[in-house]
Amino acid sequence: MTENMSKQIKFRVQRYDPEQGSEPHLQEFTVPAERGMTVLEGLIYIKENIDSSLTFRTSCRMAICGSCGILINNYPHLACHTQIEELGADTLTIKPLPNMSIIKDLVVDLTPLFDFHKAIEPYIIRRDKEEMENPSAEFAQKHEALQAFLQFTYCVKCGICVSACPTSASDRLFLGPQALAQCYRYCADTRDEGEQERTRLIDADHGIWNCHLAGACSESCPKGLDPALAIQLLKRRLVSGAIGLGKKQEPSAVVLPPAETKEKLPFPEFTVKQAK
């Protein structure tokens, strides 16, 4: 596709309106696509120009809110993050994310995803409850300690990993790669002391041991998070804890800001001659 040429791309979108009581079916639209146009822009074009009843989620249009997860040509993508050209096809089949209930058209019910996420207590837990609720100062954390889990903090909760997971396909009660990866993110965080509590939650039926390393979650994650790696590292932690190996992680200490500030540097010389 050159700069000015636009192509007619067929969008076959799955429609489903519960109020009309129909079965899900594919409806075809033709969208003039230019270079650089994303699938989301195509959907917005359809909504604005062809059929305003087309329903989908969108918010930031820049792959940070996680709203627009959909299945494009049998693979889950963020619609705003996927250019029509990169798919290399003239017909795009667009369906809602699998393994989640459909509310209408392309909108799925993300409540189970959020419930599982909340279930693993995704916040820093300290034994000193007073410090946790009313912090007096910051927690010290070295840069290397942050790098050990930083990759897993970029989750936008789009639910694409749950759609890709084979265990989530058949097991409604499975926590899912999103919740398990976030569980690792908090257990590996040196500021956190809640690993015992979270272990009880995931070391159960439909918990971490139902992950069998299919790796589809990491393959499809639109933010490069690698939930599969997080889950296997979490398994390693659990096994080390269970058989008694592994170093005990020292929780981060509370660090007050220094009482004396460093000496102020002198103001630098102007690099451009000032007019008098």
Binding site: S170, D171, F174, D203, A204, H206, W209, N210, V239, A242
Partner: protein, 120 residues
């Protein structure tokens, strides 16, 4: 026993099966390769060969050990597969107990016969 221990046992039993079943299959199936390697292999499923192994304590011990790890590994795996298709707590408990009962039955049957033959 925590689920972590049960899962870790699955790994250990898997590794043990690789060794024990490797020996078993090497004897049973690779007879032509054993001949090439110079070991004189009699037809292992013939009555005489089978009885001679059934009379040796090392073989009986090996088979019983293989039975234990194979039953654990297979039934833990089967339970995992069925649980992923089951939602109700009552059904899950039923599945677990049926699998444990089946495992114990298979273990008893599988150890009774070799020991009976050994002592006969």
């Amino acid at each position: 026993m925590r689920k972590t221990h049960l899962w870790f046992l699955q790994l250990i039993s898997g590794a043990l099966i690789a060794v024990l079943l490797g020996i078993h299959m090497g004897l049973m199936h690779l007879d032509d390769i054993l001949i090439i390697l110079g070991i004189d292999a009699v037809e292992p499923t013939s009555w005489d060969s089978m009885i001679s192994r059934a009379m040796q304590v090392t073989w009986v011990a090996l088979y019983i050990a293989l039975l234990i790890v194979a039953l654990y590994h297979a039934l833990y795996g089967l339970r995992g597969v069925i649980i992923e298709l089951t939602s109700s707590a009552a059904a899950k408990r039923a599945v677990t107990w049926i699998i444990i009962a089946f495992g114990l039955t298979a273990f008893i049957a599988g150890t009774y016969v070799p020991i009976a033959l050994l002592s006969s």
